[in-house]
């Protein structure tokens, strides 16, 4: 509880400091909006030309796009410490400063950055979710709402966990941002579309290793009443736990790696 309070106080303070430069903030937020709108437009154009993707209709595809977009960018807002700022913290020695305080490293890393500009991306994602569920004629029930919330929350843990791979590389001072991007941003691009359209190898990758399909597609398919692979309804609530599992594993790896942290400078 105490940790959560600290997290939200830190976030408040960081937000306050970012808003000290309102012009720049607005500019960048707008830039983000443009980028994400472009991504969404690509999906719309695909739907315009192909009408459908296997059994998935336009509304379904928008819904899949929306759930990924909201999850991914929520993580980027609140997990900026891991998703973007970490390499800089190691390079500048800020990580040293964090280690001097009587709190967990990961807590403090998460407490030291926020990226509110992505709020506009989430607006696009939410719009896609709403439009998608309308077009697909989703009848919202309590379990479906729960499934959506769970998918987004655990999806955030998954994304955070995947970005922690980069953080771990960083601790060992291995430069491989681009390689990790294949899993994180590549996963986002690929899993904007439902998993079952991909060949086997990609399906395995995004189901078992970076389980975007488990955390987001299974519940999304359940909400759309087109269960993935015909799996029963309860899987929509159990499968997303894979996201939490990835996070747990990466958290353990991260802690181990921190023991080998060698600091910078003299």
């Amino acid at each position: 509880m105490d940790t959560l309070k600290l997290y939200f106080r830190s976030m408040g303070m960081l937000l306050k400091s970012q808003l000290q430069y309102p012009a720049s903030f607005c500019m960048q937020t707008f830039a983000q909006l443009v980028m994400e709108a472009g991504e969404f437009m690509a999906v719309i154009l695909v739907v315009d030309r192909f009408d459908r993707l296997n059994q998935w209709m336009a509304g379904d595809l928008f819904f899949f796009f929306g759930i990924m977009s909201v999850t991914f960018y929520l993580t980027e807002i609140f997990g900026r410490g891991i998703t973007g700022a970490f390499p800089g913290m190691v390079r500048s020695g800020q990580l040293d400063t964090l280690l001097l305080r009587p709190r967990g490293v990961l807590t403090q890393v998460l407490c030291s950055a926020i990226d509110p500009r992505r709020i506009s991306c989430i607006a696009v994602g939410t719009a896609a979710l709403v439009i998608g569920s309308r077009m697909a004629g989703v009848r919202w029930t309590a379990p479906k709402a729960l499934a959506l919330g769970e998918a987004i929350l655990l999806g955030m843990l998954l994304v955070l966990g995947l970005f922690m791979i980069e953080a771990v590389f960083c601790i060992y001072s291995v430069k491989s941002v681009e390689l990790v991007n294949a899993i994180t941003y590549g996963g986002r691009s690929a899993c904007q579309y439902p998993i079952d359209i991909y060949p086997r190898s990609l399906r395995v990758l995004f189901t078992v290793i970076a389980p975007f399909a488990m955390t987001m597609h299974v519940p999304a398919a359940y909400i759309l009443d087109k269960p993935l692979y015909g799996w029963p309804a309860w899987t929509a609530f159990v499968c997303p736990l894979a996201g939490a599992a990835v996070f747990a594993v990466m958290y353990a790896v991260f802690r181990r790696a921190m023991r080998h942290y060698r600091s910078t400078g003299s």
């Binding site: 106080r9 303070m13 306050k16 970012q18 000290q20 280690l99």
Partner: protein
């Protein structure tokens, strides 16, 4: 049991060299930052920690504050092994890196302080008391509502110091705290540290290149070179060992001929001024002065001690650092 005790503390870094042409793998070299370092510090001591760049000073501070894990040896600070109980340890120490900030750049420093209060879980009453005491001692009241980025370097350093003392640490590490400060700020900072040490019994380990810091603050000096302890004792003892030469400047009325001076004296002439350096151990000062006086009417005579910086440079040279 001393407050800080280290035995054979060793830390090695592997550095990857740039890949040479035609080689598939990069060569690695090992750099021994600390080589079996042992020392102890009593509670309430104010210890200066000097040595040339790369001697291992910062590594020591990082090990003792729990950022790094050593490859060998042991260290106990107030009964704790820093790298094994990092979080518990961190609550009892304060660290200031002169070139690094732990406060938040764009927010008023008071906000930074109150976030630090939450991070260190300082009870409200204790925080209030401590903040009042520190802000008045460091003369921070006028800037409490100013964002850090708008403060001058001296004000910023005072704010950093306040931030790292809010939780009342028993041990304070200062890593080059006076770097880049103007003379007034330096003096104020030294005064504050002296008082903090005297009043609260805070143990201070001070890393610096500024010998005046050491002279003003520290009763004890440790010299580090190549990861090893080269000297440990009072500053005066250290200086006595290297303080082997003195300088005298004389100006005479009118032209004179300087007599032959005994061996061990060196003379440099600039117009009417003579600069004579000598070793008091070989040539007693009284003897030299009588010789000079006999040469003619002296208009001006000044004797100078060697600057500490020069002494340290001489010492580093002699120790081959």
């Amino acid at each position: 049991m001393a407050f800080i005790e280290t035995h054979g503390l060793t830390k090695t870094f592997t550095v990857r060299k740039k890949r040479e042409k035609g080689r598939l793998l990069r060569e690695k070299t090992e750099i021994r930052a600390l080589d079996a370092l042992s020392f102890s510090v009593e509670k309430g001591e104010l210890v200066g920690y000097i040595g040339p760049n790369g001697a291992g000073k910062s590594t020591t501070v990082k090990l003792l504050s729990g950022i790094l894990t050593p490859d060998g040896g042991s260290a106990l600070v107030d009964g704790r092994v820093p790298w094994q109980e990092r979080r518990r340890h961190a609550a009892h120490i304060g660290v200031v890196f002169g070139q690094r900030s732990q406060l938040w750049w764009d927010v008023p420093i008071l906000d930074s302080f109150s976030l630090l209060r939450d991070i260190y879980r300082v009870p409200e009453a204790a925080y209030k008391r401590r903040l009042d005491a520190l802000t008045s001692a460091l003369q921070l009241e006028p800037f409490l509502r100013t964002p850090l980025r708008l403060l001058s370097l001296g004000q910023r350093m005072r704010a950093e110091l306040c931030g790292s003392l809010l939780h009342g640490p028993e041990l304070l590490f200062l890593d080059e705290p006076t770097i880049g400060l103007d003379a007034v700020s330096k003096l104020a900072l030294r005064d504050f540290l002296k008082r903090e040490n005297a009043q609260n019994g805070t143990t201070v380990l001070l890393t610096t290149h500024d010998m005046e810091d050491i002279a003003a603050l520290c009763s004890r000096v440790m010299v580090l070179g190549h990861g090893q302890k080269l000297f440990d004792g009072a500053l005066n003892n250290l200086l006595a060992r290297y303080d082997t030469s003195r300088e005298v400047n004389v100006r005479y009325d009118g032209e004179i001929r300087l007599p032959d001076l005994p061996q061990g004296c060196a003379v440099a002439r600039e117009g009417a001024d003579y600069r004579i350096s000598y070793a008091p151990a070989q040539v007693p000062t009284a003897h030299l002065l009588s010789l000079l006086q006999a040469a003619g009417p002296i208009r001006e005579l000044t004797a100078q001690p060697q600057s500490i910086d020069r002494l340290i440079a001489a010492m580093y040279r002699e120790m081959d650092l």
